[in-house]
Amino acid sequence: MVLPRALARGWTAAAARAAQRRRRVDGEGASPGPEAASARAALYVHWPYCEKRCSYCNFNKYIARGVEEEVMSQCLVTEAQTLLRMSGVQRVESVFFGGGTPSLASPHTVAAILEEVARAAYLPADSEVTLEANPTSAAGSRLAAFGAAGVNRLSIGLQSLDDSELRLLGRTHSASDALRTLAEARRLFPGRVSIDLMLGLPAQQLGPWLGQLRELLQHCDDHISLYQLSLERGTTLFTQVQQGTFPAPDPELAADMYQEGRAALQEAGFRQYEVSNFARNGALSTHNWTYWQCGQYLGIGPGAHGRFVPQGAGGQAREARIQTLEPDNWMKEVMLFGHGTRKRTPLGQLELLEEVLAMGLRTDVGITHEHWQQFEPQLSLWAVFGASEEVRALLEQGLLLLDHSGLRCSWEGLAVLDSLLLTLLPQLQKAWQQRISLLPGDRPASPARPGGL
């Protein structure tokens, strides 16, 4: 596979290989570069096409009848360039190709995007560059080509090791395809392969599912994500369950699977560094870490989400951005305007803090006082949560910890975070309102701090 354009520039295959040998990140993800937080970002690239619709998936994806890849590729490159300029981001810490099925894209497309990023901003040689790969569309030679294009980490949508479950999910691959792809991926990207495993499928039982997990532990690399199936309206599986074709997944059973699964992973030396994510040997995903730490990220491609301060365009506030969903419309917009941003919502300070809280608590380290202070220098975690009766009840039940290092979930608490947030979010809102009503005389300077970061 020859990739002349990619090789011609700074972002080279050699750099990619160097990245594979990179030092492992221990602890809190990427080491920040010298730039200010507002000049750094992660980049998410959405490839919207799939071969076939999975029965459970409600992501923004399309079954393409002949993708004009040349045009698509050019548009992704253009949008990356535009958003990088608009955001004023100078350093891209990680790139994630998600979808859809990005492993269906040509390695040339991947190379072209990375090349553009490296041209328009600084893309360090050891930046994490992940590609989501589907076992059937990712033969070894293709994976190698993606490696040559600059990808240095793979996330394999394995989902299950049971062929009948894979059929139920509408996946195109079999369990043996999955294991073969996994082995191939590990050979090409040692220490840099993640797998997704689902739990809580209709009719799935605890014992056999744990069996799958144990078998996977024999074959897997250093990163695993466990996801509970969520039945989404509009999917085939949702309809089938509603019509009684399949039994509805039992949430109690799913909770048991999750508990047993995380225990098994812990025993196998994995650190649960986030609600759904497990890593050993320090193989945490820095890209996702950015999401949980409310770092900036740019989203390019149809339907991609982003969160950044459009500094290059004179913006002050951090914005939640969504790109146009339909690939054809998105391409038209990119060709006309340089980007297909459909929706921009400036985030208020309280909204941002809610995100810091909800995302931060998903990680095992939780929210440190320092981290919180970066977003809200005046109102400390103690001030928000320290006096609340309800929060105290959660602390006493051992679900939550608030101490000198910060606020975080206990091992038990991490499993029921969504329920904890139903207490914590209203408490934050309450404290925020009280602060506003107390403040005017006190803090003249601070309201002008719209976006954080």
């Binding site: 959405h46 994630f96 969520s230 009684g244 339907g303 989400h305 975070l417 329920s419 139903l422």
Partner: protein
């Protein structure tokens, strides 16, 4: 507030289904675009409707239980008569909406005029769409009143099902010629002889009248067309009388206004005529008339006995209500009998999942009701769920389809409260009678139920249900019916091992999860259908429990069993789509705050909804 329940608990019901086409919107013009086009000379000749004297016209419809092959048969009939090209992929070509395809329910056989040569004469065969489901009983009866006969399709493997029976009796009561057709004789387990016997036993139709076909393979389908000509009489109409036309369907097209489907009982209608509606007394000028072949073909004129469409500047479907009579301006005629306005039988609250989507949902509801005047809409609001509406539907399927269309066509996500039925109360309090200005009132929102001290009696709607099941499940089904306060009316073996049960049910007993229970205790083999059977006096004590707002108390006791700290959503973050996750969390937190205000209970909303889904003891 007490009616909050998530959707889905009564969902299995949709399998008995078949939906009328007005509900599913105007015929999608695009889907016809590929069908055969005539040369213009051909066209002129073919669409001069005066060529068809009444004796060469047959008006009929196809009725069947769901999945018994009505759509496939319609495809074949369209092909045989050259209405559409014979293609391998004419597979249920008329099912255009996602909701139809996904459910295997069919809107199918949009009214189509077929031209067929038989023994030297050219016949005009009008295949008239009838919604095959009892929710639309009234509409079915109106459609059937435009027909002189029906093709009753029964699956050679499954035999007679509940919906077959309901449909048969509608046709029988309308005194239509009935052509029984046993379909799917190509199937391995087909047993046409057994089905013949069932038809003889249940419908009293001689065995030799059954036509055995495979619509899929086309086997013996042509003989149906011959039977239509030979066994169904031509319409009894007078071309020389003044115009009398029945509206049996209407759809809304945003560019052309209302498109009414009409059947001419007398007279002629011509482009440019001034016409009037017997129901609204409004007058219109006819802009366009024509036949459906199956796409719209303008014809200048339609004559008595013929069936087609009419566009006359009507702006909303309520101006062309099903059952209405149209006549020439200043030439009024006796309206056709049986007109009544649509009467909703099932009510439910509908709320946006997210209040910020209220306006979007509102515009989606408005657009959908443009095509469906039978949905009634009242604004409503709930403490826990915010602003929404109380909607009235003809039945459960109607409600389900409406909701699904909101989701699929308008991408709206809604919470539907438990469906309730319209109760009546006969008032004793003079003060209340004065207030309501009548003695007998209908209550569509249980929150407004008058106290029993002010009431002589309560009435509840009842339906006559038909259940057909293999006999090994009879005992359990009878117990289920009893538990639902149903009164047995009839039990009959329709063959050696199949039983038909008839029960009178209080409607509120079947609106929530009856069909699901029936299906699960019969391993899916029992079928169910029902028809309106008026009102009956309701037991006061029971009604009290259900309706006096005590349900919140019941909730408290049930809620204690919920483990609020179990559920967690570990959904994958979609490319950093935090917004969705945060929305969900904020909404849940908001719901929790509100609930706390109501009952001092701390339970997330989804758990709250889940609790209400499980029915309290009956």
């Amino acid at each position: 507030m007490w009616t909050v329940v998530g959707r889905g608990c009564w969902r299995g019901r949709l399998q008995v289904s078949r939906v009328t086409r007005w509900l599913l919107g105007p015929p999608a013009a695009g889907s016809w675009a590929t069908h055969r086009r005539c040369s213009s000379a051909d066209f002129e000749e073919k669409f001069d409707m005066s060529r068809f004297p009444v004796e060469n016209i047959r008006n009929f419809s196809i009725i069947a239980h769901v999945d018994h092959g009505k759509s496939t048969l319609a495809d074949r009939l369209l092909e045989l008569t050259g209405t559409i090209d014979k293609k391998k992929n004419n597979k249920q070509v008329l099912d255009t909406l996602q909701v139809e395809r996904e459910r295997g329910i069919t809107v199918k056989a949009q009214t189509a005029s077929l031209f067929y040569d038989f023994e030297g004469k050219q016949y005009l065969l009008n295949l008239i769409d009838t919604p095959g489901h009892v929710d639309f009983n009234y509409e079915v009866s109106r459609s059937l009143s435009a027909c002189q006969g029906v093709i009753l399709v029964v699956d050679a493997n499954e035999g007679i099902q509940a919906q077959t029976v309901a449909n048969f009796f509608l046709a029988f009561e309308a005194q239509l010629a009935i052509i029984p057709v046993i379909n799917k004789i190509d199937l391995k387990n087909a047993d046409p002889e057994r089905v013949e016997k069932q038809i003889e036993k249940v419908f009293d139709i001689p065995r030799n009248e059954c036509i055995k076909i495979s619509a899929k393979l086309g086997t013996n389908v042509e003989s149906i067309l011959q039977a239509v000509i030979e066994r169904i009489p031509p319409p009894k109409v007078q071309r020389n009388n003044p115009l009398k036309a029945l509206v049996f369907d209407s759809t809304f097209d945003r560019y052309r206004g209302v498109i009414a489907s009409i059947a001419l009982f007398d007279g002629v209608v011509c482009k440019g005529d001034k016409i009037a509606s017997a129901h609204t007394q409004k007058t219109y000028e006819v802009n366009e008339v024509g036949v459906l072949n199956p796409s719209e073909r303008s014809t200048q004129k339609l004559y008595a006995g013929q069936v087609g469409y009419l566009i006359a500047g009507m702006r909303t479907v309520s101006e062309a209500q099903v059952g209405d009579t149209l006549y020439l301006h200043r030439r009024p005629v006796e309206p056709l009998p049986g007109f009544k306005a649509a009467k909703p039988m099932v009510f439910a609250g509908m709320y946006p999942v997210d209040q910020s989507e209220y306006n979007n949902l509102k515009s989606a509801v408005e657009k959908l009701t443009l095509n469906d005047s039978s949905v009634t809409v009242h604004r409503d609001s709930s403490l826990a769920l915010g602003a929404g509406w109380r909607l009235g539907f003809l039945g459960l399927l109607h409600m389900e389809v409406f909701n699904q269309r909101l989701e699929q066509e308008y991408n709206a996500s809604v919470i539907l409260t438990t469906p309730t039925v319209p109760y009546k109360a006969v008032l004793s309090s003079a003060k209340l009678i004065k207030e309501y200005r009548e003695k007998e009132i209908t209550i569509i929102n249980p929150a407004q139920f008058p106290d029993k001290s002010k009431v002589t009696e309560y009435l509840e709607p009842v339906v006559l249900g038909t259940i057909i099941t293999p006999d090994e499940y009879t005992r359990e089904i009878m117990m289920l019916c009893q538990a639902r306060r149903a009164v047995q009316k009839n039990v009959m073996f329709i063959d050696q091992n199949r039983v038909m049960l008839k029960y009178l049910f209080p409607l509120n007993e079947i609106v929530v999860d009856f069909y699901d229970s029936l299906k699960s205790l019969s391993s899916g083999y029992a079928s169910f259908d029902y028809e309106d059977a008026g009102y009956q006096t309701a037991e006061l004590v029971k009604m009290d429990i259900l309706l006096n707002g005590n349900l919140v108390e019941e909730l408290v006791t049930v809620v204690h069993n919920v483990k609020p700290y179990r559920k967690n959503v570990l959904a994958k973050c979609y490319g950093g789509d935090i917004t969705r996750k945060m929305k969900l969390l904020r909404r849940q937190a908001e719901g929790k705050k509100k609930l706390r205000k109501i009952g001092n209970i701390e339970v997330p909303k989804d758990a709250f909804i889940k609790v209400l889904k499980t029915q309290p003891d009956k």
